[in-house]
Amino acid sequence: MSTFLGIPRSRGRGHAPVADEPFGAVPHPDEPLRWGEDFPAAARQALQNTQLRRNLAHATSTIRAKRAAVVGEVPDWEALRDAGSAIKTDVMARLPELLEELERNVTARGGVVHWARDADEANRIVADLVKARGADEVVKVKSMATQEIGLNEALAAEGIAAHETDLAELIVQLADDMPSHILVPAIHRNRAEIREIFLERMGDVPPDLSDVPRELAMAARAHLRRKFLSAKVAISGANFGVADTGTLTVVESEGNGRMCLTLPETLITVMGIEKIVPTYTDLEVFLQLLPRSSTGERMNPYTSLWTGVTPGDGPQEFHLVLLDNGRTDVLADEVGRAALHCIRCSACLNVCPVYERVGGHAYGSVYPGPIGAILTPQLTKGSGGLGGHGDPNASLPYASTLCGACYEVCPVKIDIPSILVELRAREVDADRGGLPTGWGAAMKAASFVMSDARRFELAEKAAGLGRMVAGPKGRISTLPPPASAWTRSRDLPAPAEQTFRDWWRTEHVAPDPPADPRAVPPSVPPSGGDPGSDAEGGAR
């Protein structure tokens, strides 16, 4: 992380897309898991984009309602979630043996397995495979793993053109944009913007293209069909890799993935090592959980499963690249490892009130939203993403009100709020020992005060001074920093004239004498407190 005068520089911007950046200001970053400013600053920018706010509010509320409807009709949904969680916990507990089992079974069925420690290794393996086939273009199935490693950019640097074939990924790619959602990467675009992008960047669209969804889809279909028929190599991710059979799985809605998985001669799949499931029957659980959670469909339109190579049917060469890229670091963390249970359904994004307001780009990672806030810092912790001084990713665990909506919908029951809190603690602990921060000093002081009733009471008396700030209306509307962050948009009531504690001691008369002197200690001051404390006046 580079700094200038101790201030983190804005993160790598990579190559500028085009001089005038017609479709937005999110060029491809050098680090797909770390770009832009820290979350509060990036969110502040995003909040000003009224089109984005409207697009997101509409899209997330639509998908939330769809999900709620189809989840509500499954009587054993909670049992399915428990099963999904249990399977993933089991996988994490014996990941090495399951990966070796997967490797054996893929190899036995004619596939080739590659192991990649990080993004560079994975990109190198894929680029070499493509070049060895003499290809200079590939078609791609939508994949988060290849987004995470910046595969398209790495291939471009080797003279290989990667064509995204998922409609939304295509929109993002044509606009030289970054995805802002795990499932719906172009969720921040509306159809008028998409029409403009197609007209300007697709090259082979009718000039009278309208923004009617069907017309847009037909234009993309014609454009993509030519790519499918010419490409010799396809690259995919995988939703699941089945250890006991060596079967890989991709679930999708459009069928473009199916084209990629069946038409080209060579298929290269990049899969995060956590995507494994032990047995074929485990798919039963996840193929119910995933579509209902992600697109709000009972069943996704296309489920493709393939096992090695089948002579005369589909790709005749299959490579599986198993990607670590920080995952074993996450696995080593007893609390944080549950983030690896994620099946990338994006339900947590759709229900998150923070994501709904700021969108995906504010998270500065290809993994936005609540899951991104726990996954990105952990995946990048080797490079300071969790508590590295000034690392923008260290701001992500705070990008939540801990409202719990994410945990409630997670199909594999990842307790995201608890992990966020734990990561905050890691971040705080990592910063200990340096110069004390304002927050640190305040929290230490508050701990001293709030761990003792007498000290707390003294502080309450001091807080009473706040009444002077409030004035006769009892309302505080301006405070100096950092409290100004509150009063910029919210009033603050003045501290009460009489604390509850004081009222209880001086005015409350218990119906019966308390059984234990501890309840009302002997140090109770004589009654007759502040006469001005009673707003209803002199009843007494």
């Binding site: 719990g404 640190g440 962050a485 009531p493 059984a515």
Partner: protein, 269 residues
């Protein structure tokens, strides 16, 4: 029943009307309320901001103050806050164990097992939904996130409110959306917090309610602070204040927004 009240730190210093109303309500229902003197705070702010080490002494103080419930000195502990109850129930044990204090953690969990949020205490423990309240106003209810998703209080607060005589209860659109408070989130991500608050205020305004109620003074401080800033003409009252209200003892005078102004309702005493 002998019930110990955890007034909460914010209830003690900023919103004493909520714990006072809790006392009034429980005594009206015939229960004996105790206020352990050693109490200060549950530690939630420290935990949720990541200051776990600093949270330990705060948690220890809370556990010590309320430990007599384990010896039968009181039958239960009540907290007029969903998020403080949530922190007591789901975080205190973890905080202690994380610091290697297993015995304290076990004690915290034992105290937590006898600790209830107000609507839980009323409906689940005391078995009442009609508390004999009278509140002839148009009211809308915001289910705070931790009541809803950490404690799963469900419709208990609404059942209590529906039984209030004279109340005109209006459904809050998008009720389950967070108001944007989130403790220090409101400061660390003030703009995002404000964007969420704006939508919540729009929903509240759309109901035509004159009173917004909830089970957490902190969330009410946030929404009420926003409503006060725009002079929305909607005041905030803690659920306890609505439930404690009777023909003889209405709650605080009708000042808009959320105000720490104390109004003693105990005129009968």
């Amino acid at each position: 029943m002998r019930i110990a009240l955890a007034a909460t730190c914010i209830g003690d210093v900023m919103f004493p009307q909520a714990p006072r109303a809790t006392v009034r309500l429980l005594e009206r229902l015939g229960h004996e309320v105790h206020v352990p003197d050693g109490q200060a705070c549950c530690g939630q702010m420290h935990v949720n901001t990541g200051y776990m080490a600093e949270a330990v002494p705060v948690v220890r103080n809370h556990v010590e103050a309320f430990s007599p419930v384990l010896d039968g000195e009181w039958d239960a502990v009540v907290v007029p806050s969903g998020s403080c109850t949530g922190s007591i129930r789901h975080q205190q044990g973890m905080v202690c164990r994380r610091a290697g204090l297993d015995a304290l953690g076990a004690r915290a969990e034992a105290v937590a097992a006898k600790t209830y949020e107000l609507s839980e205490l009323l409906v689940d423990v005391l078995g009442v939904t009609d508390v004999g309240a009278y509140f002839p106003h148009r009211v809308t209810y915001h289910p705070t996130c931790h009541s809803l998703r950490m404690l799963h209080v469900g419709d208990k607060p609404l059942r209590l409110l529906r039984a209030v005589e004279g109340i005109d209860l209006a459904e809050l659109p998008g009720a389950e959306s967070c108001c944007g408070f989130g403790g220090t989130f409101a400061l660390k991500n003030a703009e995002t917090s404000t964007a969420m608050l704006a939508d919540k205020m729009t929903s509240v305004k759309s109901t035509g309610a004159e009173v917004l109620t909830a089970g957490d003074s902190s969330c009410l401080m946030h929404i009420g602070g926003g409503l006060s800033r725009i002079r929305a003409g909607v005041r905030t009252l803690h659920l306890a204040e609505v439930l404690a209200s009777t023909r003889d003892t209405p709650p605080a005078a009708a000042t808009t927004g959320s105000s720490g102004t104390t109004t003693r309702a105990g005129g009968a005493r």
